[in-house]
Symmetry: C2
Subunit: 579 residues, 2 copies
């Protein structure tokens, strides 16, 4: 139980000193590339979250600056991301109608609350909470979220008004609007979608065959969406598609992000606490796993508690500058890394790029079709969907599969919050159930050796007077009774029994409940004329046992090795226990 | 994951054949002694539960018969017990006012629901659910319940009207009624209390010095309450204390238990589900631990799943015969055992004794002062209160102490349900937190041996090219990241590192999350030019790993022993790794 609060550091003081001319150049180039990539993404994810497009730009300025100052990853690119935007839409939609001023206020409150939670978790070193999202739960959740997001874009691709936060709701809602589909919107949307899928699949090899280096080809393919956006925006402007029913991004106020004060409505905050916590944890998990993967490639480390503080500050920043919840994104961080970013200076450059965009580019975005943005979202989230892990997890572990399937099903059918909560609950319950049924093997001596093996798997020597049990699990409250049952069973089956020896080599801990059980076992054995012995007890476990009176009251002894125990308890003529 | 539903047995077919003349005599004697002991107890616990006194008698007839037919313990005595009665009062008090017909109906519904839950848990072999009540939670809960029950009797001992379900509520309620204290009631109540405490402390040695055998002396002392009841009942009748304000048990309808049909109010059932589950689990835990302790003394076994079915049937029986939730009681079972009971026939004799009491004894109980019953309850529950375990648990394990203290505090201040739920939550959270921070030791070779020990505790050989890490915990989602962190740390600290070897002797399981982590670690190490190896992987873990593609993709190898791993990865001239 070692725990101390974290003092937040300012990593900029470390990487700031490493900045030289080549690093400056690399970071500037990477920052510009990421800015170009995330301008449309930010608009798209703001729309996904149910907010005006400019909120996405605002969420990509101050949060990036704060993360650059505080973050421990050198290359993580922070901003609005798909899954967190979906969760924001689901959470805020409970309290306000889309496209209202109150909706935006609730989104700001959500960002503030999530930012404060992340910061406090970081300062209190509570980052381990994120560990309770098991990988099957995360991958089930991400795959289901990707599907939900893709389906949620159907309405924009088809140019209809529809709603819903679960798969059936969204499908029904879109189907009911089938009569209102706009042919032009669908043409633009699905045209962009097909173009993007082709770029994604075919452009990379094509560019390489034209002589481009693999990295450059890869980067160009990733910037493909810019092409789709340029073409459809110019076409919409030139042909006045807006008058034909095509929805575009429309007027975005030019200028720096506004100073926004989140609402101090405590009743609302209380209601937002659960979604804010879930958004915080999901965002943190996504961000940290990207950060760790990229850091390891350069033998660097990231500090999860510092990351919590940095992501917390980024979200608080988003709340005060007209944004919404943000986190470290996978694809933009990879682009940043591949483009050669060396320090968080790249993030500052990206932020500066977005500032320029909000000052100069907003008129150009007026004619950008929303259907094109929807197509870029669909293509982006398809990479989140991974059905192969269903089969892989089924093969590897049934309990993990149950947790995965429960998370996926509930996320699709009941929404993101229910899916996550159910996933965590199911995976914890299954873990506890599994450890509550520990593997306990009766072992016997392998002839000619000092080794003991499972009597059911090996030809080993045993004796009717002594039973050797090896417990393959730490002893704690949930499995304490199983040990009692197992020993009672052995005693009831072997009438000649005089000694029970527990081989403790796999026991890493014995909690108070298990200690009580051992004491009860010992007393019952003593009353029935038997002795309980332990062998191969680990150091830390022995230290703890010595803080109780268990060892003084133990009917038998504690042996260093199991062989010694069996030898001295059942001495035989030939120095071997009777078989 | 082996699981099969249980087929309930009829243990009477086993012990019925063993019945011979001596057993018949022993069982009859024990049954009569227990009947005499539990008549006043049943009345007292019915009043504690807020029900009319006769409900206690009714709850001690049919449930005993059903348990005798189905129970796997030979000597467990079933009926109303203190803690379950307190929980009944707390649960039913939420939905009805004491002394109303609806209150009794809700109590019947609670018994039925609890009985059905227990039966279903038994048939589905879900008895392991009870394991999640850790011993510190149980002992904190029992001690706090004992205190609550003792304090709840103050109002009866003082003859005032007071209420409340938590310690502060009850104390304030009684204090506000201080002006209404009945001097006569207080004299009878505290007189009986002092008498019982003296009997408890002094009678046993006195009787022994008079030549009684220790067992007979002990039994006589346990029947002490009967003396207090006889004296005060006779005095109350002779001196007409009732007219002076002393409350007595009053008129009890003579005759067999009524046939009662619990209410089929589904909304009520839904609300009662949580308290019924808690009552079921607490009752089961209490009953099974008594049963196991007594069975082990005679080298017998009890079957927890069969116990669930038997206790479930007993509660269903109580629900249809005017009773309330019952379970196996500690003191009455010990009396049954000490009096020589050999088979559940003793329980049938007890039930017959209670039937006689309901037919013949009820007029005699009319003048029994409620204050005397309250005194017997206070003395009985004082044995539940154990403050020494606070110090003992503090010394042994801080997390267990936290769970214990949280359970006690919340039970006293917020009531029994809140206390139990909080206790379970805290103990699960602490267990998960503890296993999420696994002990990982860097180990080195003990010179001249093939053993590896912690580099911080022993003089061992290591090499800058290879790091050996021993993980003292199964790998699962909550600790997977900790392993990643530890390895990242080792790699960042040792620039010359080429091999990371995980010694897996204490790893009993690797779940899908941990497998993903190992895979991520392996990929990161490979990209940094390092290899990951495993040694001493257990059979079941290896079986599971072979169902994934981890072993094919592993950068390094799997070694049978850690010594082989180190020898073949860092061969040196003298056959030992470089130190």
């Amino acid at each position: 139980m070692s725990w101390r609060p974290a003092l937040p550091r300012l990593p900029i003081l470390e990487w700031g000193r490493e900045l030289d001319r080549p690093a400056l150049l690399d970071d500037t180039l990477a920052g510009v590339i990421v800015a170009v990539m995330i301008i449309p993404q930010s608009l798209a994810y703001a729309l996904l979250a149910g907010l005006p497009a400019q909120a996405g730009l605002y969420a990509s300025i101050v949060p990036l600056v704060l993360y650059a100052l505080l973050g421990s990853s050198r290359v993580l690119a922070v901003g609005p991301v798909a899954v967190v935007s979906l969760m924001t839409a689901a959470a805020v939609g409970e309290f306000a109608h889309v496209h209202t001023a109150h909706y935006a206020e609730v989104a700001l409150a959500l960002a503030l609350l999530s930012g404060l939670m992340l910061t406090v978790m970081g300062l209190l070193r509570l980052g381990f909470i994120a560990n309770f999202l098991s990988h099957p739960v995360i991958s089930g959740f991400i795959t289901a979220s990707g599907l939900l997001i893709a389906v949620s874009q159907l309405k924009t691709l088809l140019g209809v008004q529809a709603g819903g936060h679960t798969l059936p709701e969204m499908l029904i809602s879109v189907t009911l609007q089938a009569h209102a589909i706009s042919g032009l919107t669908a043409a633009v949307g699905f045209g962009a979608l097909v173009f993007l899928l082709v770029v994604r699949g075919g452009l990379n090899p094509l560019l390489r065959s034209c002589g481009l280096s693999p990295r450059a080809a890869d980067l160009s393919a990733k910037l493909g969406p810019i092409g789709a956006i340029l073409v459809t925006t110019v076409a919409a402007a030139a042909l006045d598609w807006q008058s034909l029913g095509l929805k575009t991004v429309g007027a975005i106020p030019a200028g720096l992000p506004p100073l926004t004060l989140p609402t101090w409505d405590l009743a609302l905050w209380k209601e937002l606490a659960t979604p804010a916590l879930l958004i915080s944890i999901v965002g943190f998990v996504e961000s940290v796993s990207v950060g760790q993967t990229l850091a390891a490639k350069r033998r660097q480390r990231i500090d999860p508690d510092q990351e919590l503080v940095a992501l917390g500050a980024a979200n608080v920043g988003a709340a005060f500058t007209g944004g919404f919840p943000v986190t470290g994104g996978f694809s933009r961080s990879v682009v940043n890394f591949d483009a050669g970013a060396r320090t968080p200076l790249a993030g500052l450059v990206t932020a500066a790029g977005i500032v320029l965009a909000t000052l100069l580019l907003t008129p150009a975005l007026f004619h950008l079709p929303q259907a094109t943005l929807a197509a870029t979202i669909v293509v982006a989230v398809l990479s989140l969907v991974d059905f192969k892990m269903l089969a892989r997890t089924w093969r590897y572990s049934k309990p993990d599969f149950i947790a995965l399937a429960a998370t996926m099903a509930l996320t699709l059918l009941q929404g993101v919050e229910m899916g996550l909560v159910a996933g965590v609950t199911v995976s914890l319950a299954l873990h506890l159930w599994r450890t509550s049924q520990p593997h306990i093997a009766e072992v016997g001596l392998v002839p000619g050796t000092e080794h003991f093996r499972n009597v059911h798997r090996h030809q080993v020597r045993t004796t009717p007077e002594l039973v050797s049990l090896r417990v393959d699990e730490s002893l704690y409250f949930a499995n304490a009774r199983a040990i009692e049952d197992r020993i009672n069973d052995a005693v009831a089956r072997q009438p000649a029994l005089r000694h029970v020896v527990l081989q403790c080599s796999a026991i890493n801990d014995i909690d108070a409940s298990a200690l009580d059980s051992l004491q009860a076992i010992d007393e019952r054995l003593r009353e029935a004329g038997l002795q309980l012995h332990l062998s191969e007890v680990k150091g830390p476990v022995m230290d703890r046992l010595q803080r109780s009176d268990f060892l003084q009251r133990l009917s038998g002894r504690v042996f260093l090795t199991h062989y010694q125990a069996v030898m001295s308890l059942t001495p035989a003529v030939d120095g071997r226990p009777r078989s």
